[in-house]
């Protein structure tokens, strides 16, 4: 079982995963908008979610995805999911 990563570590991991979708090369911050700034469409969103799930051994519910707007939202969701998984 993976340990709960700290905030900094989680953010930098997700930032690294997002870099594949960051063709524009902008700086990724917590308030970066996933759709508007990073151009992650619905197909790319699923690719990204899968990478995160594989990395942390999670199952992210689909309906939660539609509520995410920023990178920060995504980081928070992943942390919640990891914590839940650890009980």
């Amino acid at each position: 079982m993976t340990a709960v990563p700290d905030e900094v570590e989680l953010f930098s991991t997700i930032r690294a995963l997002l870099s594949a979708h960051n063709s524009a090369g902008i700086e990724i911050r917590r308030d970066t908008d996933l759709a508007a700034d990073l151009s992650i469409d619905s197909v790319a969103a699923m690719d990204l979610v899968m990478e995160i799930e594989e990395r942390y051994d999670l199952d992210i519910p689909v309906n939660e995805i539609s509520e995410l707007r920023t990178v920060g939202d995504l980081v928070d969701l992943v942390r919640r999911q990891i914590e839940e998984r650890r009980g």
Binding site: A24, I40, M46, V49, P61, V62
Partner: protein
């Protein structure tokens, strides 16, 4: 350990005929051991719902629905997750004399609000009285149900705890509706296709007996959404009517891990599976980065159906090549044509022949006179390949008509009109929209354009999307597919349409979703798009490099060219480089 349902019923005889309603079909299937198998996002089997258990739970829920005081024929809206609860709720409505309305799911980041509005539009149009959703989506449906006629929104679990009606309700009869499917129309005015029991029974039988030649030992595998005709009718209701077992993964699971689809077929020996072209394309895309194609065993897959959108032969060829080492046989491809307004299927290509193309000559004959003249087999250059979608199913007819409604001869392109025992009764409570597509002679104008060759239907595009420039017909797909092949542009990024310009000519507009931040790189892409458009169709176009997510898709994943056109004309889609091309206002204004 959980085991999937068996592929065949040892004792119960295989039967496809003689059912008058969906409920009767399930009554029969419930006497066997087959059923539905649901898999999670990793492909693990998480729930087995035998047809026996499905019927038991549906009847139990039906008695609770009957006790709510809803009148016969009232609508129950159910979010169509790929879950046992959705299927139970759908069939409970059948037993309770209520009409289920499957609702779509949301996709993508930050789409929640638009999704809620779409659901609300459907709840209103269907005048639904009850909403049903899984625990996770319940809050969304509750919000969508505000200011509608919906009296309550619940999970199946909650409803099961309610008191049951003393008397078993009367199931929907053969003259009554079966369900309403919302697949087209706008957010505020969605159009609900009302399918009757008679239509469903007729189409399921035609698909099973004539289209697929189903037999004991067949097994269906599906990731298609259950709010759509191909997923709902093809991969859920038809299997019930034929006692065929189904292995499901959710659509979102497929989108994340497309190869799970093929893994599931390999594991359980699936024989039948359908997808639109883009499904095969996603699998190809993932297979190129994954290794171990030989871990799949696709030898059992005898019908690899294709439908739902214009079929692209090049994608099928790539799929066949990549999965050949896993035992995939390209002869398994079965192109088909259908639409929600006909319940599902209208034509099926013959089994075991693979996908066959009709190669036609481009040029004035094709583009102006709309005649699809066959090209020589080795003819290169100005040719166009179209996939043959097969002949109409027995009991169905296809006629190609001109704009005045006169029938056209073979190899002449016109409006595809169909007749048969499974046409919808109406667009629910929308007589004007119904009258536009259904005539008194029992013909449905599909809105598609195509031609017949040897009695087989070939689809060339949507009539409302056809671009006519200088009297020449240009198919938007041709332009889009060509532009999508440019490096850095992806499938689904491109939309082509025409607008009337200020000189009363038609101007082609090509919108390309663009992720390039660098101005010079964008200029390069713009040049390339112009070049490709000219090379493909010989027309000048206005190229719009738009921000991502500018284009809209229907719930079935079809590009909405009309919506893109409207938004561009309204100035809602702007070029990333202002001044690079003429704006809509400048182009259209006098």
């Amino acid at each position: 350990m959980l085991l999937p349902t068996p592929t065949t019923n040892e004792i119960l005889p295989f039967r496809t005929e003689g059912f008058r309603t969906l409920a009767e079909g399930l009554d029969y299937a419930a006497r066997g051991r087959t059923g539905m198998n649901f898999h999670d996002s990793r492909g693990e089997l998480v729930c087995v719902l035998s047809y026996t258990e499905l019927r038991e739970r549906a009847v139990r829920l039906a008695r609770r629905l009957a006790a709510t005081g809803m009148a016969r024929g009232e609508r129950v809206a159910v979010i169509a997750e790929t879950s046992p609860d959705f299927v139970v709720a759908f069939f409970a409505c059948q037993y309770a004399g209520l009409v289920p309305v499957p609702l779509p799911l949301a996709v993508g980041f930050g789409t929640r609000q638009a999704y809620i509005e779409r659901l609300r539009g459907m709840l209103r149009a269907a005048d639904a009285r009850l909403g049903i959703a899984g625990r996770e989506l319940l809050p969304v449906l509750v919000e969508a149900a505000r200011e509608t006629a919906v009296l309550g929104v619940h999970t199946v679990e909650e409803l099961m705890l309610r008191p049951a009606a003393a008397v078993e309700p009367e199931p929907l009869g053969s003259d009554e509706p079966c369900y309403i499917q919302y697949s087209s129309g706008s957010t505020s005015f969605p159009r609900g296709v009302l399918v009757t029991q008679r239509a469903l029974v007729a189409n399921a039988l035609a698909i099973a007996r004539d289209g697929l030649a189903l037999r004991p030992g067949d097994r269906c595998t599906s990731w298609l959404p259950l709010y759509h005709d191909m997923g709902l009718v093809g991969c859920c209701l038809t299997p019930v009517m034929t006692q065929i077992p189904v292995d499901y993964i959710a659509t979102a699971t497929f989108a994340r891990r497309p190869l799970l689809w093929l893994e599931l077929i390999s594991r359980n020996g699936g024989t039948i599976s359908f997808a639109p072209t883009f499904g095969y394309e996603l699998a190809v895309r993932r297979a190129q980065t994954a290794n171990g194609i030989d871990r799949f065993d696709l030898r059992s897959w005898r019908v690899a159906g294709i439908g739902g959108e214009m079929i692209r032969q090049s994608v099928l060829d790539r799929f066949a090549r990549i999965f050949h080492p896993a035992g995939f046989d390209a002869r398994a491809f079965v192109p088909s044509y259908g639409l929600a307004e006909a319940t599902l299927a209208v034509t099926f290509a013959p089994l075991g022949c693979g996908s066959r193309v009709d190669r036609v000559r481009r040029g004035p004959l094709f583009e102006v006179r709309r005649i699809a003249q066959p090209a020589a087999a080795d003819e290169a250059g100005a040719v166009r390949d179209f996939v043959r979608c097969g002949r109409p199913l027995p009991g169905y007819a296809v006629e190609i008509r001109d704009d005045q409604g006169r029938p056209l001869p073979e190899r002449t392109i016109g409006r595809v009109c169909v007749r048969g025992p499974s046409l919808m009764r109406e667009y629910f409570r929308d007589p004007a929209a119904t009258a536009r597509v259904l005539d008194r002679g029992g013909w449905l104008d599909t809105g598609d354009l195509g031609y017949l060759v040897d009695g087989e239907l070939v689809i060339t595009g949507r009539s409302k999307d056809l671009i006519i420039v200088g009297g020449r017909n240009i198919w938007p797909q041709d332009l889009e597919w060509a532009v999508e092949r440019i490096e850095g542009v992806r499938p689904g990024d491109v939309c082509a349409f025409a607008v009337a310009d200020k000189d009363e000519g038609e101007r082609v507009v090509v919108i390309v979703e663009c992720r390039l931040q660098d101005r010079a790189a964008r200029a390069e892409l713009r040049r390339e798009v112009h070049r490709v458009v000219t090379a493909t169709a010989g027309v000048e176009a206005t190229v719009v490099l738009a921000p991502p997510r500018s284009l809209t898709y229907t719930t079935s994943g079809k590009l909405s060219r009309a919506a893109a056109r409207e938004r561009w004309l309204a100035g809602d889609i702007l070029d990333l480089d202002a001044g690079a091309e003429e704006t809509a206002a400048a182009l259209v204004a006098a």
